[in-house]
C-alpha cells in the first residue's frame, strides 16, 4: 500500500534536490537549509518510532535542527524572486501548446478528486491502497506525480529539468514554506507548557457574568482574538469554550451547545483570515504569488472577515437561545 511516509520521502527528495542546486550555485545558506529539512523528512519516521519506544535522542537532534533552520532562515536566506527570463520563448510555446498546457495543471485537482472518490473501492479488509491515516494526502501526492509526468511529456522536459523547476520555486518560497510547520510546533509547545490553561484562567476571571449579550460578545471576540494570536481556531476553541462558552453561555444562560460550538469556531475562522500566524493561508500565498506586501492577502480579507464576524455574532445571539 501507499504509506503516507512515501509522500514525506518524496517531499524530502525535492528538498534535497533544491539543496543540491543551491550548493552547486554557491549559495551555502539555502543549500544547508534545504538539506537539513530534507533529512528531517527522510528521518521523521524513524524519529517518531524511536520516541514512541522511549529513545528521545533522535527527536532531540531534530530539535537542534529546528533551531538551526530558524537561524539559517533569519541570517542567510533571502527570498529570491524566481527569474523571469525567456518571455518571448514562453509566449511562443504558449501559442504552440495552447489549451493542452492546462491539462497537467488541471490533473492535480481533478486527479485528486477522482482518487479521493475511489478511496472506498481501493480497500478490502485490512488492505487499503491509500494509507488509512491520510488517504486524501496520498491521493493528492499521487495526482501531483501523475501531473508532473504529464507536464514532462507535454513540454518534452527531462526529470532533471523538473527537479530544477521545483528547486527554483522552492528557493522563491524559501522560509515561508517552513513557517506552517514551525507554527504547528509552537502550538504543541504552548499546549505542553500550559499556555492555553493560563489564558483560559485569565479569560474566565476577566469576563462578564451578568448580561447575556456581553457574554456572547466576549466569547466571539475571545475566539477571534485568540485565533489571531495562535493562528489556529482549533487551538483557541477549547480554551475559550472552557473559559466562557461552557460556564457562562451554556451553564448560566442555557445556550444551545451545538450552536455555540459551530458559531464559536466560525468566529475563530474570521480571526484566521486576519493573522500572519496562519502562515499556510496568509503568508505562503504571498510568497507563491511573489507579492511585495507581506500582508497583501490579509488586507484583501479584512472586510470579508469583519462583516462575517458581525454576522456570526448576530447568528449566535439569535440561534443559540431559541
Amino acid at each position: 500500500m501507499l504509506r503516507i511516509e512515501y509522500v514525506y520521502w518524496l517531499c524530502g527528495a525535492l528538498m534535497f534536490a533544491a539543496g543540491y542546486a543551491d550548493f552547486a550555485a554557491r549559495r551555502p545558506a539555502p543549500g544547508a537549509f534545504w538539506t537539513i529539512l530534507a533529512l528531517c523528512f527522510f528521518g521523521g519516521d524513524a524519529v517518531e518510532a524511536a520516541a514512541k519506544a522511549g529513545n528521545l535522542l533522535p527527536a532531540q537532534v531534530v530539535g537542534v535542527a529546528v533551531i538551526a533552520l530558524a537561524i539559517l532562515a533569519a541570517s542567510g536566506l533571502t527570498r529570491r524572486p524566481a527569474d523571469d527570463s525567456g518571455a518571448a520563448q514562453r509566449k511562443a510555446s504558449a501559442e504552440r501548446l495552447r489549451n493542452r498546457l492546462f491539462l497537467p495543471a488541471l490533473a492535480i485537482p481533478l486527479g485528486t478528486l477522482v482518487l479521493v472518490l475511489l478511496i472506498p473501492y481501493l480497500q478490502s479488509g485490512a488492505f487499503a491502497l491509500f494509507d488509512a491515516r491520510q488517504p486524501t494526502i496520498v491521493a493528492f501526492a499521487l495526482a501531483c506525480v501523475v501531473a508532473a509526468g504529464a507536464a514532462m511529456a507535454l513540454t518534452r522536459a527531462t526529470p532533471a529539468a523538473a527537479l530544477r523547476e521545483s528547486a527554483r520555486l522552492l528557493d522563491a518560497l524559501s522560509w515561508a514554506a517552513l513557517l506552517p510547520m514551525l507554527l504547528a510546533t509552537l502550538g504543541a509547545v504552548f499546549a505542553a507548557t500550559g499556555v492555553g490553561e493560563a489564558v483560559a484562567h485569565i479569560v474566565s476571571a476577566a469576563s462578564p457574568t451578568g448580561s447575556r449579550d456581553a457574554c456572547i460578545v466576549a466569547y466571539a471576540l475571545g475566539m477571534a482574538v485568540f485565533t489571531i494570536i495562535m493562528g489556529n481556531a482549533f487551538a483557541a476553541f477549547p480554551v475559550m469554550t472552557a473559559g466562557i462558552g461552557l460556564p457562562l453561555l451554556i451553564g448560566q444562560h442555557h445556550a444551545h451547545a451545538a450552536v455555540v460550538g459551530a458559531l464559536g469556531m466560525l468566529c475563530g475562522y474570521c480571526g484566521t483570515l486576519l493573522t500572519p500566524m496562519a502562515a499556510n493561508f496568509n503568508i505562503v500565498p504571498v510568497a507563491l504569488l511573489e507579492l511585495r506586501d507581506p500582508n497583501a492577502v490579509i488586507r484583501a480579507q479584512v472586510p470579508t472577515a469583519l462583516v462575517l464576524f458581525v454576522v456570526n455574532v448576530i447568528l449566535l445571539d439569535w440561534l443559540a437561545f431559541r
Partner: protein
Amino acid sequence: MNYWPLLGIAIVVAGFAWRLNPALVVVAAGVASGLLAGLGIPELLALLGRAFVSNRVLLVLILPLATIGLLERAGLRERAHAWIAGLRQFTFARLLIAYLGPRQILSSFGLNTIAGHAQTVRPLLAPMAEAAAEKIDPDLDDAERERVKALAAATDNVGLFFGEDIFIAFGGVLLIQAFFNQHGIELDPRSIAVWALPTAFAAFVIHAIRIALFQRRLVRNAATKAAHAQD
C-alpha cells in the same frame, strides 16, 4: 498556575510587530515558553523535534511545484491570460465568484485538498484574474495587479474556510463534538455541522459582493485613466 509561559505569546506579537524574520520569532517563542515552564533543555529539544516531525503533512504543498514550474516555463500563465482575454462574457467578477462557489461546495464534501494556493491559485486562478482585470483596464499598474492576485488568494481561503465546517467528518466538527463530550454534553456531528450553513451562505454573499465592488472600482479607474488620456 504558572503564567510565565505566556511570555511566548508576547514574543510572537512583538516579533511580528517589529517585522523580524517570522521563522526565528516563532522558534524563539517556543524555546522561551518551554524554558519558562521549567522544561530542561533535553526535554525542550525533544518536544520541539517530535512536534516538528509529526507536522510534516503541512509541507506537502510543495509537491505541485515541479509541474507548475515546467508549465510556467512552457507559457502556462501566458496561455491562461490569452484564454481569458478571448472570452468576452467571462468577466473578472464572474471568474472569481465561479471559483468561490464550487470551492465552498467541494470543501463541504471534505474535498479540500483538490484546490489551494500552490495547486490552483498560482498556476490558474491568479493569472486568469490578472487577465480578466486587464480586459477592464489595459494599463493595470503594479499596485492594482498585486491587489488582484491577493484577492484571488483570499477567495480561495474564504471558499475553503466556510465550506469545510459543514463537512461532518471534518476535524473542526469532530473537535467540537469531542470537547463537549468530555464535558458531558452528547452531540451528533450533523447537529453541529448544520449550524455552519447560515455562515457559509453569508460568507459567499459577502465575498461575492466584495468581488463585484472590486470590479466596479477597476471599471471606474479605467474610465478615469481614459478621460485623462484624452485631455
